[in-house]
C-alpha cells in the first residue's frame, strides 16, 4: 500500500512538472517582476537634499562622498560599484532625498558611470 502511495506521489510530481511553467525568467527577454520593496537601483531627488551628510556618515560601504565648502556649496558623489544596496542611506535621510527603486542595477561599460554626481549645488543654482 505504502509503495503504491509512493509511486502515485512520484507520478503526481512528474505530471506537475510537465504542466507548470519554468521557475526561471529569460531576463532581459522575459518580464521580471521584482517585489515592491526590493532594494534595487538607487534614485536621488536633488531638490530635497540639504547637504547634511547623514547618508555619508552612515553608509557602511563608503559609497557616498560629500565635498562641502559651505552650507550652500557642496557636491554629493555616489559610487555605485562600492554600494552594498543595504538601504541605510534611505533610512538615514531625513528629507527623503535618497530611495531604492525596485529596478535591477544595470551593468556599465563607461568609466564615467562609476561616479554619479547626485547633487552639485552650483549646477542646481544655475
Amino acid at each position: 500500500m505504502n509503495r503504491i502511495k509512493k509511486r502515485l506521489t512520484i507520478l503526481n510530481a512528474v505530471i506537475e512538472a510537465m504542466i507548470k511553467s519554468p521557475e526561471t525568467v529569460k531576463y532581459p527577454f522575459g518580464d521580471l517582476t521584482l517585489p515592491e520593496g526590493y532594494r534595487g537601483k538607487i534614485e536621488f531627488d536633488p531638490d530635497k537634499c540639504s547637504g547634511c551628510g547623514l547618508c555619508v556618515r552612515d553608509c557602511p560601504a563608503e559609497a557616498l562622498h560629500l565635498n562641502k565648502k559651505s552650507r550652500e556649496e557642496y557636491t554629493l558623489l555616489y559610487y555605485p560599484a562600492r554600494c552594498a544596496y543595504c538601504g541605510q542611506c534611505e533610512d538615514s535621510c531625513r528629507h527623503g532625498a535618497i530611495s531604492h527603486s525596485n529596478k535591477l542595477v544595470g551593468a556599465t561599460t563607461h568609466k564615467d558611470d562609476w561616479v554619479l554626481v547626485f547633487k552639485d549645488s552650483k549646477a542646481s543654482q544655475e
Binding site: N2, K6, T9, E23, P35, G37, Y38, R39, R57, D58, C59, P60, A61, A84, Y85, C86, G87, Q88, D91, S92, H100
Partner: protein, 360 residues
C-alpha cells in the same frame, strides 16, 4: 596496511566553503584527521571597532550568507541592552519571524546538500526549490533575498500588512506539505537510511565535553535550545518545542533538522497569529553609554554568542562573536575516525559547517 594521508580542501568539490583537512586512511578505513581554518577570515571583529554602531549592522550581516539575520539580531539586542531600551513588541515578533524563516531555509539548504552527497539528487532539487519559497517570503517583506537588512538599532526597518500576512500564510501552507513529504522520505527511503543510519555516532558525553551546540547536540540527545532555555523576546511568549533524538548518528541529525523545520513553520504561523499592533522601530542615540553586554541567541546551527563593550563613543570598543560551527569543527576529527572513506561526505554534511561564520 600503510597509512596514507589525503588532503581535502581548501578547494574541493565536497566543500562549499574553504576548509583544509588532512585525512589519514588505511585502505577503506579512516584513521583520523586534522583541520586547518582561517581561509575566509576577514577580520570582521577588528573592522567593527573602526565603524559606527549603525554601519556595523550591515557589516555584521555579512559574517554569514545563510544565517545573516540572526547575527544582526544578536548584535542589535546587544546594542539596545547597552542603550537600555526595549524595542516595540511588534518589532520583536518580526525579528523572530525572520529568524524562523532563516532556520527553515538554512535547514532545507543543508538537507539538499546532504541529499546530494549521498546521491539523492532529486531530493536536492526538491529541497532547494522549497527553500526558495522561504527566501521569496524574506525578499518580499525585507527587500533582500540573502542580505535582508531587516534589523536596525531600535527595531526593524519594515512593517507587515494584511497582504503580506496572507502571502506568508499561503507559502507556509505549501511548505508544510513539502516538508511532510521530505520527512516521509527520510524516515522510509531505504537509500537514505542505508547511507546515514549508524554513520559516525557521537555520544552525548562527547557532545558535552566538546561544547557542541545546536541540532548536532540535540541529535545526540542533549536537550538544549536557547529559544526555550534563555529566550530573547518574544520567544519567552512562544512555546518552542525542542526536537531531540538519542541516535547521535547522521540519520538522527537529518531527522532533528527536518523536524525542526516543521516546528519553525508552526512557529511562523503562531508569530503571524500573535503579531501585536504598534510601531516597529524607535529612534535611538548614536552614542552608546559605557558598558559591556553578552547576548546569546539560537542560530540555525546552535548557540550564537555576542560580547559587546562600549567606551561611550559611537564605535564599539570590542565586539566578540562566537559561532556554533567552531565547536562542531573541533569534534570533526573525532567523528572522522573509524568510518569508511565513502562516509566522509556524509559526516561533513551532517555537521552543517559554516566556515564563513567560524572564521569571520
Amino acid at each position: 596496511m600503510d597509512k596514507i594521508s589525503i588532503p581535502i580542501g581548501p578547494q574541493h568539490p565536497l566543500l562549499k566553503e574553504p576548509l583544509s583537512m588532512m585525512v589519514d586512511i588505511a585502505g577503506e578505513k579512516v584513521l583520523g584527521g586534522s583541520l586547518r581554518l582561517g581561509y575566509v577570515h576577514r577580520g570582521i571583529e577588528r573592522l567593527a571597532q573602526q565603524r559606527t554602531y549603525v554601519q556595523n549592522v550591515h557589516l555584521i550581516e555579512r559574517i554569514c550568507g545563510i544565517c545573516s539575520h540572526v547575527h544582526t539580531t544578536a548584535y542589535c539586542y546587544a546594542v539596545e541592552a547597552l542603550l537600555g531600551i526595549e524595542i516595540p513588541p511588534r518589532a520583536q515578533y518580526i525579528r523572530a519571524l525572520m529568524c524562523e524563516l532563516e532556520r527553515i531555509h538554512s535547514h532545507l539548504l543543508w538537507l539538499g546538500i546532504l541529499a546530494k552527497h549521498i546521491g539523492l539528487e532529486t531530493i536536492f532539487m526538491h529541497t532547494w526549490h522549497d527553500r526558495e519559497m522561504a527566501l521569496d517570503i524574506m525578499e518580499e517583506i525585507s527587500g533582500g533575498r540573502v542580505s535582508h537588512a531587516a534589523n536596525q538599532i531600535g527595531g526593524v526597518r519594515f512593517d507587515l500588512d494584511e497582504e503580506h500576512g496572507d502571502m506568508i500564510r499561503g507559502i507556509l501552507k505549501k511548505l508544510h506539505s513539502q516538508v511532510d513529504g521530505l520527512l516521509d522520505i527520510i524516515e522510509t527511503e531505504p537509500a537514505a537510511i542505508a547511507r546515514t543510519k549508524g554513520v559516525a555516532p557521537i555520544s552525548s558525553d562527547l557532545i558535552k565535553a566538546y561544547g557542541v551546540v545546536g541540532p548536532v547536540a540535540r541529535a545526540s540527545g542533549v536537550d538544549i535550545d536557547l529559544r526555550r532555555d534563555a529566550p530573547l523576546p518574544p520567544y519567552d511568549k512562544l512555546q518552542v518545542k525542542v526536537v531531540t533524538h538519542p541516535g547521535g548518528d547522521a540519520w538522527a541529525r537529518t531527522y532533528v533538522r527536518a523536524e525542526e523545520t516543521r516546528v519553525s513553520l508552526n512557529l511562523c504561523e503562531k508569530i503571524l497569529e500573535d503579531l501585536p499592533e504598534g510601531d516597529v522601530s524607535l529612534r535611538t542615540p548614536r552614542r552608546v553609554p559605557e558598558g559591556e553586554v553578552i547576548i546569546r541567541s539560537e542560530a540555525p546551527r546552535g548557540e550564537l554568542f555576542y560580547y559587546l563593550r562600549s567606551d561611550g563613543s559611537d564605535k564599539p570598543a570590542r565586539l566578540k562573536v562566537r559561532t556554533p560551527t567552531l565547536a562542531a569543527l573541533s569534534l570533526l576529527p573525532v567523528q572522522l575516525a573509524e568510518i569508511n572513506v565513502a562516509d566522509i561526505p556524509v559526516v561533513l554534511a551532517g555537521v552543517d559547517l559554516c566556515i564563513a561564520c567560524a572564521d569571520r
